[in-house]
């Protein structure tokens, strides 16, 4: 057996386990099980089940198309406006779900944290998996709309996974910060919905970021700008052209968030069981 062999282990104050990353790898099955649990119970005792993953983006899509496309009359290039919006909604929904799941994950798993040892990183990481399932469902919606408008993506679609990763890393980086902070300060529970609400309008979800030519440099400091632009570029045949400099800024910001999030999480992890 021996999935977890520990030849000799020393427990001491301030001694961050030197085997942390190896431990994380050993506990990968637990990560899978926790993700599987979350997915499994997500739509238990609901009548519509996984359809809920479809209803929310569909309604948002209709509202945004109406507000930004019809009322504000924003340009969409030669792409149907709903497709433009959906390509923004896809990464945003992925980010929003992954971020809010990760933020609440530690407190939601208090009973595990106070009773069993495992690398705590597993908890926020596994919580992100559910978001991927919903994401896959919305991809189906996109496929249907593409068929409807007879719009076929080209080779660029093959690069889409890179931007999915960028979105997830952004969500994990911010999620790690928030979940570790929430363990000590429950105030941050109220910050998460607020951040998501503001972020939805600060990110180019309902419109194309080409509408702000002068500000794109500053705008790209929001890593989701790079992710959303990337999604559109991949799915809409490179339609709003991708600016490498702006993309680099977004990627760098995402990396910074992830690195600092990891640092803060690891820094506070040792005290989780005492204060949660």
């Amino acid at each position: 057996m021996a999935a977890i062999e520990t030849p000799e282990l020393i427990l001491e104050a301030g001694r961050a386990s030197r085997h942390y990353w190896a431990d994380l790898w050993r506990y990968r099955e637990l990560l899978g099980f926790l993700a599987w649990r979350d997915i499994k119970i997500r739509y238990k005792q609901t009548t519509l089940g996984v359809l809920w993953a479809l209803i929310q983006p569909a309604v948002t899509l209709a509202v945004f198309t109406f507000i930004f496309g019809k009322l504000a009359g924003m340009p969409a290039g030669n792409v149907p406006y709903p497709l433009l919006v959906l390509c923004g909604l896809l990464p945003w929904q992925l980010f929003a779900a992954a971020f809010s799941n990760a933020s609440g994950s530690l407190v939601a798993n208090t009973h595990l944290i106070s009773k069993v040892y495992f690398p705590r990183l597993i908890v926020p990481l596994s919580s992100v998996a559910v978001a991927l399932i919903d994401f896959a469902v919305v991809l189906v919606l996109l496929a249907i709309l593409c068929l409807w408008w007879q719009f076929a993506p080209d080779w660029r679609v093959l690069l889409l996974p890179l931007f999915v990763v960028l979105t997830l890393l952004t969500a994990i980086g911010t999620g790690l910060w928030l979940t570790a902070l929430t363990v000590k300060y429950r105030d941050f529970r109220f910050v998460v919905p607020f951040l998501l609400q503001v972020g939805l309008f600060l990110s180019p979800v309902g419109f194309s970021s080409t509408n702000l030519p002068n500000w794109r440099f500053v705008y790209s400091l929001n890593p989701m700008v790079g992710a959303i632009d990337g999604f559109r570029w991949c799915l809409l045949r490179g339609e709003p052209a991708l600016d490498p400099a702006n993309l680099a800024i977004s990627v760098a910001m995402a990396a910074l968030l992830l690195a600092s999030g990891l640092w803060y999480f690891r820094h506070t992890e040792r005290t989780f069981a005492d204060i949660i």
């Binding site: 999935a3 000799e8 301030g14 119970i41 009773k115 069993v116 040892y117 005492d274």
Partner: protein
Amino acid sequence: MSSPVISVSGLGKRYYLSHEKRQDTLRDSLTQQFRQLGRRLTGAATEPEGEEFWALRDVSFDVQQGDVIGIIGRNGAGKSTLLKILSRITEPTTGRVRLRGRIASLLEVGTGFHPELSGRENIFLNGAILGMSRAEIARKFDEIVAFAEVERFLDTPVKHYSSGMYVRLAFAVAAHLEPEILIVDEVLAVGDAAFQKKCLGKMQAVSRSDGRTVLFVSHNLQSIRQLCHSAVLLAGGQVQTSGPCARVLEFYQHGLAGPVVHVVPPPSADLLHCGYVTSVSVETLEGKPTSVFDVGQPWRIRVGFRIAKAQDQFVIAVGLLSPDGSPVQTSWFPPRNLAPGDYEAAFIQDKVILEAGSYTTVVGLSSHGHAFQQFQSERLDISGETVVGTYVCASSGVGVVLNSMRQELRKIP
């Protein structure tokens, strides 16, 4: 002798108790920070945050491979903290622990069980949480199901299980862990008597095979004696004594384990003007405070209380909760009017005696049928070690109250 598998030296764990002012909201922390900044600027000394409390202090002991060691002590002696450190849930403040071997801890049965998932799914989930690999769980799956006796309900969500089935399933998963070092908190105190016996048997089997090392915490002195070779007695976060099981148990049972501290909560502002309990003492009829009794031994509870304002229809009552938390018995004085002053009430038990186990005392004050103070106080351990008088067996498994009925036997002519 080979080097120990567990070596604990100078272990300490400090907590900060923050009275009244909670510091776990951001605002509190921010105002605290500002205040400290202000003090630092004005040159005043910084105040420590809250009162310091050492749950463990300078604890050292070694455990050899194959040892089954019992950790005993009163509530608040630091047993749980020690287990939490050994199972890596929390970090020590001082000292160090060296562990050699794969370790698994069982601080609770059914950790991570999800009510919406089926029995089958929960076996895998719980197994993974306890550190088993998927292949390992799959291999032992049938054994686990058979041990838990839940074959028919494997695909039912566990929220529909009876509490007995739930506990059986949870323990069954845990019982099939195969670590080199097993840490077990008081998990045997669940389930019915028959199942407890089965669990104890399983624990014995686990510890006797393969030279596995077991650390075992329990309030049930009988099971400690049955399972353990040696024991460590903790009191006030320190090791009081350690060594062969029988000697440590004797030390504990004869009240040598330090002064008996009774839990009496400080009265709230309302109670100060009304009336409140000042002391609780569980003791022998000779007045020797202790919390461990043999089956058959008489005992009493003395409750001191202060009446601040004259009380009409005043009642003082005590009760006992069984190890699983259900109320077993209660006694109260008939309602009477009391003038302000200090009083002492004694409740004496010399006939009915309870089955071996760990009970909790409850004390309550009321007036006109309205309870104004009620709290759980000291734990009371009734040991099955020795038996006083005519009680033959200490734990019957079929009744908490032993031999309280008058008996008659006659030969029918």
